[in-house]
């Protein structure tokens, strides 16, 4: 089978799920004839018609709320945020309405909100954000953030089939840079399971999304110095795969958490707390973090590169852990 890009893998998942289940429909801004700002939904309106690929007004709260209403009635909507930064406009709908619906009123809300996320693309402050941490803090939502084309497809299929609301973060830096060969058949990756991206015995890097690839690059450089790095790709951020996290801590006893999101209140803090509570005795060094600075993401390459975590930063942090 031919390799396809991360972006094409998402489209393939949408296409296959729409073909499989007539309740699946897409709604978003410019997703129909235009095929979406990044062309993720390109061609789908031709195949499934305007009734199932709905071009919406510029109305994030409106379309997320409407998706919830349709989902209550048994539909399985997939909502596109043109850029995930705009999900902030639907924050109330997601956190107050959707996240609580099953618990407070026994309302199933099987829906997906997906969108291009992340930096390293010179997008500036409103087209580069990683707002996942705020949603992980909200009981009732699930959050996934794939790093590979295979996971992008398999997790999208799982997200559409999930009986709760799944926020599906797509890294736009990976859209066309990363390729993969899709496993044959109905390829579904379960939500809540991490993946070992690289096995190693000396230090664990726990990460997700674009920084998985930065971490793998760092691991190769460190291997040349004789440091054997394990890289865990979380894939699912809510729920977290505690077992995979604790297993790698018990194995290497040294942990670095890497994320592209800003530092304060980022997921690294939560991971550190869990490791502290459950694996304290296994640690040979404090858990360290490499993250973005607490800065809105600037536009100029010199500024963006300084704010975001880079391979050199990861190498520096791993060396510090080893030397502890």
């Amino acid at each position: 089978m031919a390799e396809i890009t991360y972006l094409e893998a998402i489209r393939e998942a949408l296409d296959e799920e729409m073909a499989r289940d007539p309740n699946v429909f897409l709604i978003g801004e410019d997703i129909g004839v235009f095929g979406g700002a990044f062309k993720v939904t390109d061609g789908l309106v031709k195949k499934y018609g305007e009734g199932r690929v709905i071009d919406s007004p510029i109305s994030e709260a409106g379309i997320v709320g409407a998706a919830a209403g349709a989902a209550h009635m048994g539909m399985r909507p997939v909502v596109e945020m043109q850029f995930i930064d705009f999900i902030a406009n639907a924050y109330d709908m997601l956190t107050n309405y959707i996240a609580t619906a099953r618990y407070r009123a026994f309302l199933p809300t099987p829906m997906v909100v997906r969108g291009p996320s992340g930096g390293y693309v010179r997008g500036g402050p409103f087209h580069s954000q990683n707002p996942e941490a705020g949603f992980i803090h909200t009981p009732g939502l699930k959050v996934v953030y794939p790093a590979t084309a295979e996971d992008a497809k398999g997790l999208m299929k799982a997200a559409i089939r999930d009986d709760d609301c799944v926020l599906f973060f797509e890294h736009k830096y990976l859209y066309r840079r990363i390729k993969g060969t899709m496993p044959a058949g109905d390829h579904v990756v379960p939500i809540g399971k991490a993946r070992t991206a690289r096995e190693g015995g000396d230090v664990s890097i726990i990460t997700y999304a674009a920084t998985v690839h930065k971490s793998l690059e760092a691991a190769e450089r460190l291997a040349a110095e004789g440091i054997d790095v394990e890289v865990i790709d979380l894939r699912s951020l809510a729920p977290l795969d505690d077992e995979a996290i604790f297993n790698t801590v018990r194995k290497t006893n040294r942990v670095l958490i890497v994320h592209e999101d800003t530092r304060t209140g980022g997921i690294a803090g939560e991971l550190t707390a869990r490791i502290n509570e459950s694996c304290f005795a296994y640690l040979d060094a404090p858990v360290l973090r490499v993250t973005a600075h607490d800065i809105p993401l600037p536009y100029a390459p010199q500024l963006e590169d300084f704010v975001l975590p880079q391979v050199d930063d990861i190498v520096t942090a791993v060396r510090r852990l080893v030397a502890w």
Partner: protein, 379 residues
């Protein structure tokens, strides 16, 4: 305020669908309005006995607009109420005992003690559900949600209509705007009712909008708009029924404004210090929806007083029975709080510092060779 004859979409006069109702259905309207008021009066008593564990929200003076509008829906249609639409909930099939258990936070309430008052729902397939969807507290949010509910009717070719209530205050929210605009563009079969009761909590409508009337917003959304006397139950029915029929016929979103008045505070704790002197008393004396409707029934429809007394007695009996049943119910088990956030996993685990937690892995796990203090004195 007298109801003016309302006009249809093309400006033509039309038969008054409320006045055309047969007498037995007119008496049903009276029953639902009386049940609403009596049930709320019972809730006030329970509130004062501290048996209502949270806030209590009244719809005194607004019974006609809730009952008359929801009465225009069919069983298969879906309605989303506001906090002041107890009457609409009852018409759509919610029972007094369910409402009482909700307010009293009982373990077998429709939400098992998780939510309060009329924040509960029953929606799904036509014929298999009663078709109401409880609101949430951020106002305006149910407009986009009901846009989606009715979008699903359109996508599946179902002959069903949605009705959503908002207050004068909720029209100021972004959710209201986004929801009605999206539904309008998609030509969803949705009726949006703005209940203009004069106040949003303490804020008068003059501080809510610069528009002369809320129904003027219909023009901006390109949808049909109509305004009516919300304290005239037959006028409310007439106005809503025609809107529901138009929505069902594929004519898209309908925006209705009902003029009414909130005679109690936002909730029972609210002393209404912001209301000009005499205003409440004037509405109570001159424009009580039940008083007005009684005059219609007794004077114009020549209903015997005994028929009214019979309905009143039936309502008291039903509320008494419901109260007894709700009082007998128990409170939820604390651990039930952990169930049902997700379909999978179905339950959360208690935290380690709580009884019932699995602490086998916590604090006891040690890496091999890791030195620990031994209480017996050894290392």
């Amino acid at each position: 305020m007298a109801a003016k004859p309302s006009r249809g979409a093309k400006g033509a006069a039309h038969p008054h669908l409320g006045e055309a109702l047969p007498i037995e259905r007119k008496l049903e309207l009276y029953y639902w309005m009386r049940l609403t008021r009596t049930l709320e009066e019972r809730l006030v008593a329970l509130y004062r006995q501290t048996k209502v564990v949270g806030g209590l929200f009244r719809s005194l003076g607004q019974e006609a607009d809730a009952v008359g509008s929801c009465y225009a829906l069919d069983q298969r249609d879906v309605m989303s109420p506001l906090i002041r639409n107890l009457g609409a909930m009852l018409v759509k099939g919610a029972t007094p005992v369910e409402v009482l258990k909700q307010y009293m936070a009982k373990g077998d309430s429709p939400t098992r003690g998780r939510e309060l008052n009329i924040h509960f729902g029953d929606i799904g397939e036509a014929g298999k559900s009663r078709g109401f969807l409880g609101q949430i507290s951020p106002l305006g949010d149910m407009v986009p949600v009901m846009a989606g509910v009715t979008l699903s009717f359109k996508m599946r070719g179902e002959d069903r209509v949605g009705l959503v209530y908002v207050g004068d205050g909720a029209t100021s929210t972004g959710a209201f705007h986004e929801g009605i605009n999206l539904a309008a563009v998609q030509r969803c079969p949705l009726v949006v009712i703005v209940e203009n009761n004069g106040y949003a909590y303490s804020t008068p409508t003059s501080k809510q909008t610069a528009a002369k009337q809320f129904v003027d917003k219909a023009i901006g959304y390109g949808v049909y708009g109509e305004r009516c006397d919300g304290n005239d139950v037959l006028a409310v029915y007439d106005c809503t029924k025609r809107a529901v029929d138009r929505a069902r016929a594929g004519e898209g979103v309908q925006l209705l404004e009902f003029i009414t008045y909130r005679r109690k505070g936002h909730a029972e704790h609210d002393n209404q210090s912001y209301v000009p002197a005499g205003e409440i008393e004037k509405w109570a004396a001159e424009n009580d929806p039940l008083d007005r409707y009684l005059r219609v029934l007794l004077d114009r429809e020549k209903v015997a007083q005994s028929a009214i007394d019979e309905i009143d007695a039936r309502v008291v009996r039903e509320v008494d029975e419901a109260t007894d049943e709700a009082e007998r119910s128990g409170f939820p088990e604390p651990m039930d709080a952990l169930v049902g956030v997700y379909a999978d996993p179905p339950a959360e685990k208690p935290l380690w510092f709580r009884e019932g937690a699995d602490t086998s892995k916590l604090g006891t796990e040690r890496a091999e060779g890791w030195g620990t203090f031994d209480a017996k004195g050894g290392k």
